[in-house]
Amino acid sequence: MVDMALSSAAERAAKRRKAQRLNRLTPYMFMAPAAVIMAIALLYPLAYMIWGSFRAWDPSQTIGEAEFVGLKNYVTLWDDPNFRESLSVTLRFAFFVVTFELVIGVGLALLLDRNIRGMSMLRTLFILPMMIAPVVVGLMWRYMYHPTVGTFNRTLEGLGLPTVDWLGQHALMSVIIADIWQWTPFIFILSLAALQSLPRSALEAAKIDGATTWQQIWYIKLPLMMPVLIVTGLLRLIDAFKVLEVILVMTEGGPGLSTEILALRISRTATEFRELGVAAAMSNYLLLLLLALTLGMFAFTRWQEVRAAKVRISAEEDT
C-alpha cells in the first residue's frame, strides 16, 4: 500500500517534470519553422559564400574542385585599382545621396508641417517616387538624361543654354540625382511623422521665449527629431550601399568605372570575369560594412533605451 502510494507519487513527479520540459521547449518549437527557413535561405548561402571566398573558383568547377587559396582573394582585392575605384564610387554615392536626401527630406517636412487645404494631397504626391519600381525609375531617368531627345537637354536647348552630357561626363552626379529623387520621400515621411509628434506646447513656449522660426527649427525641432533622423539616415545608408537596379539600367556602371558601385562590380566579377571566389570575397567586404552600420544602429537605439530608463529611474527615486 505504502509502496504503491510512493510509486504513484514518483510517477506524478516524473510526469510533472516531463510537462515542464515540454513547456520550456514550446517557444523553440514555435521558432523552429522560421529557423529552418533562415538556415536554408540565409545561413547556408552565407556559409557557402564565405567558404567560396577562400578559393580560386571558376563557374565551370564545383566548389570541391576549386583550389583553396586562403586569404589571397581578400588581399589581392586591395591591390586591384578597379576594386578600389568601385569602393570609392560606392562611398561617394552613399555619402552624397544620404546627405542630400536628409537635407531635402527634412527641409520639405519642415515646410509641409502645417494644416493648409490640399496638404494631404501634396504629401501623397511627394511620396509617389518611392512607390515606383527601381527598374522603371532607371529607364525613366535614362530617357530624361538622353543627350539629344532627353527632357533635360531639350529644355536647356529651348532656353538657349548649353546642353549637359548627363550620363557621360557627369554620370555619377546624374545617378545620384535620380536616387535623391526616388528616396528623399522616405526621409520626408519619417521626418514629417517625427515633427507631428513633437510636443506642441514646447514649441509654443519657444515662441513666447522669443525664438524666431529658424531658432525654433534649430534649437527645438531638429534636436527633438534627432533620434528619428539618425535611424532614418542609417537605414538609407545601408540601402545606398546595396543599390543596383537603377544604376544598372541607367549606365551599367559606365562610362568607364565612373558609376560602377560595388554591387555591380560583384555581379560583373562573377558573370563576366568568371571569378566566383573574388566576387564572394568582395561580397563579404560589403557584408562587413553593412554589418558594422547595422550594429551601429542597434547600438544607438539600445543606448537611447538605456538612457531613457536611467532617467525614469532617477525621476522615480526623487518622488
Binding site: 510636443p199 506646447s201 514646447a202 509654443e204 513656449a205 519657444a206 515662441k207 513666447i208 521665449d209 522669443g210 525664438a211 524666431t212 531658432q215 534649437y219 527645438i220 534636436p223 527633438l224 534627432m226 531613457a308 532617467v311 525614469r312 532617477s314 525621476a315 526623487d318 518622488t319
Partner: protein, 363 residues
C-alpha cells in the same frame, strides 16, 4: 508694469463664435484669475493675450498700445503651461536660460539670473538634470523659473497646477501666492478650480459660454453674485437652490416653496417686493444654515437629514427639503442623528434671490 485692456474681444473658429465680446480691464500688478467650467473660453482668452491664437475681432491693448497683430515674442510676456512645456533635450539650467540665450545676453549675467530664479523656486540642486529626470512638482517649478527668468511685465498661467496631485497642488498654490507677492507683475491665471481662484486672485473673472459673467474681488463675488451661475460656481460645497414664489403676507415678503415659507428681511425684502416677476429661485449657502431647534418656522428651513459626510472639523449634511436636495455645513462637534427632520435657521444676510427666467440676482 503695463495695464491690459481687452476691448470687445471676439474669437471665431470658422462659423462658430466661441468668445462673444470680452471686455476686461486689468490694472497694474494685479493677480487676475479667469475661472469657469471647461469650454467657457478662458484658455482661448489667455492664448489670445499670449498671441498663440489669432484675434477674430476686437483689440488687445497693453500699456495703451494695440498688440493683437504682434507675434508672441514681441509682446513682452512669459507663460506657464498646463503640461509645463519644458524642452526635453535641455537640462534645467538650459530650459531656464533659453529666452536669455536667444536675446544673446552676456554669459555671466545669464548664469547669475539662472542661479537667482533657481533659488527662488528651490531648484538649485537640479540645474543639470533633464526634465525627464524630474518629478511633476519639480517640472512645474522649472516652468515657473523659466517664466520668472524672462523678466517680462506680464505673466500668464494656463491651468498650471491641474496636472499635480491634490497635496502637491495645495503646496504649490501656497508657493504661488507667496511668489506673486514678491514679484510685482501683472499675472493672469486661468483655472477651472474655484478654490485656486478664490485663494490666489486679487480679482476673479468668472466666464461661462464665452461671456464674462462677473468680475470683482473674491469676496464681492462670493457675497454678491450677479446671477445664479456665479453663485453656484463659487463656493464649496456649492450654494443650495430652491424654487419658490414671492408672496406678500400682511405686508411682509415671503419666499414660499415646496416645504418652506421664509420671511425676507431688510434690503432683499424691498428688492423682492419691487421685482416684477414672482417666480424666483432662492439661494442659500451651506454655511449660512445653522441647526436651531427653537427657530421660528418663518426664518428656518425644515430639512430631512439623509447623509452626513464627515470631513474633519466640518461635516456636510445632505438633506432634503420637499423634493430638492439641500446641503448644510456645520461644525462636527454638533452630532446630528440621521433620518430626523430638523429645523435649520437661515442667516438673513445669506439669502440670495434669482429671477427664475433670467437667472439674474435680485438685489
Amino acid at each position: 508694469m503695463p495695464t491690459i485692456h481687452l476691448d470687445n474681444l471676439i474669437k471665431r473658429y470658422g462659423e462658430v463664435e466661441v468668445l462673444h465680446g470680452i471686455e476686461l480691464e486689468i490694472a497694474d500688478n494685479e493677480f487676475t484669475v479667469l475661472v469657469g467650467p471647461s469650454g467657457c473660453g478662458k484658455s482661448t482668452t489667455l492664448r489670445m493675450i499670449a498671441g498663440l491664437e489669432s484675434v477674430s475681432d476686437g483689440e488687445i491693448w497693453v500699456g495703451g498700445e494695440p498688440v493683437s497683430h504682434l507675434e508672441p515674442k514681441e509682446r513682452d510676456l512669459a507663460m506657464v503651461f498646463q503640461d509645463y512645456a519644458l524642452y526635453p533635450h535641455m537640462n534645467v539650467a538650459q530650459n531656464i536660460s533659453f529666452a536669455l540665450r536667444l536675446q544673446r545676453r552676456p554669459k555671466p549675467e545669464i548664469d547669475k539670473k539662472v542661479r537667482e530664479v533657481a533659488e527662488v523656486v528651490g531648484l538649485t540642486e537640479f540645474l543639470h538634470r533633464k526634465p525627464g529626470a524630474l518629478s511633476g512638482g519639480q517640472r512645474q517649478r522649472v516652468a515657473m523659473a523659466r517664466a520668472l527668468a524672462k523678466d517680462s511685465g506680464i505673466f500668464l498661467f494656463d491651468e498650471p497646477l491641474s496636472n499635480l496631485d491634490a497635496k502637491l497642488r495645495g503646496q504649490m498654490r501656497a508657493e504661488l501666492a507667496l511668489m506673486s507677492q514678491r514679484v510685482q507683475k501683472n499675472m493672469i491665471y486661468v483655472t477651472h478650480d474655484q478654490i485656486e481662484a478664490m485663494t490666489l486672485a486679487d480679482r476673479i473673472v468668472v466666464m461661462h459660454g464665452g461671456y464674462i459673467q462677473q468680475q470683482g474681488t473674491p469676496e464681492a463675488l462670493f457675497k454678491r453674485p450677479v446671477n445664479k451661475f456665479v453663485a453656484g460656481f463659487l463656493g464649496s460645497p456649492p450654494m443650495n437652490f430652491l424654487n419658490g414664489e414671492i408672496e406678500d403676507r400682511d405686508g411682509r415678503a415671503f419666499v414660499v416653496g415646496n416645504g418652506f415659507a421664509l420671511a425676507l428681511e431688510g434690503e432683499i425684502a424691498a428688492a423682492a417686493k419691487a421685482h416684477s416677476r414672482r417666480s424666483i429661485t432662492l439661494g442659500v449657502r451651506p454655511s449660512d444654515l445653522r441647526h436651531d431647534a427653537d427657530a421660528s418656522p418663518d426664518v428656518a428651513l425644515s430639512l430631512d437629514v439623509m447623509v452626513s459626510e464627515y470631513v474633519g472639523a466640518q461635516s456636510v449634511l445632505l438633506c432634503k427639503c420637499g423634493d430638492e436636495k439641500v446641503m448644510v455645513e456645520l461644525n462636527s462637534e454638533n452630532r446630528i442623528a440621521l433620518g430626523q427632520t430638523l429645523s435649520f435657521a437661515v442667516n438673513p444676510r445669506g439669502v440670495h434671490l434669482f429671477d427664475r427666467e433670467t437667472e439674474a440676482a435680485i438685489h
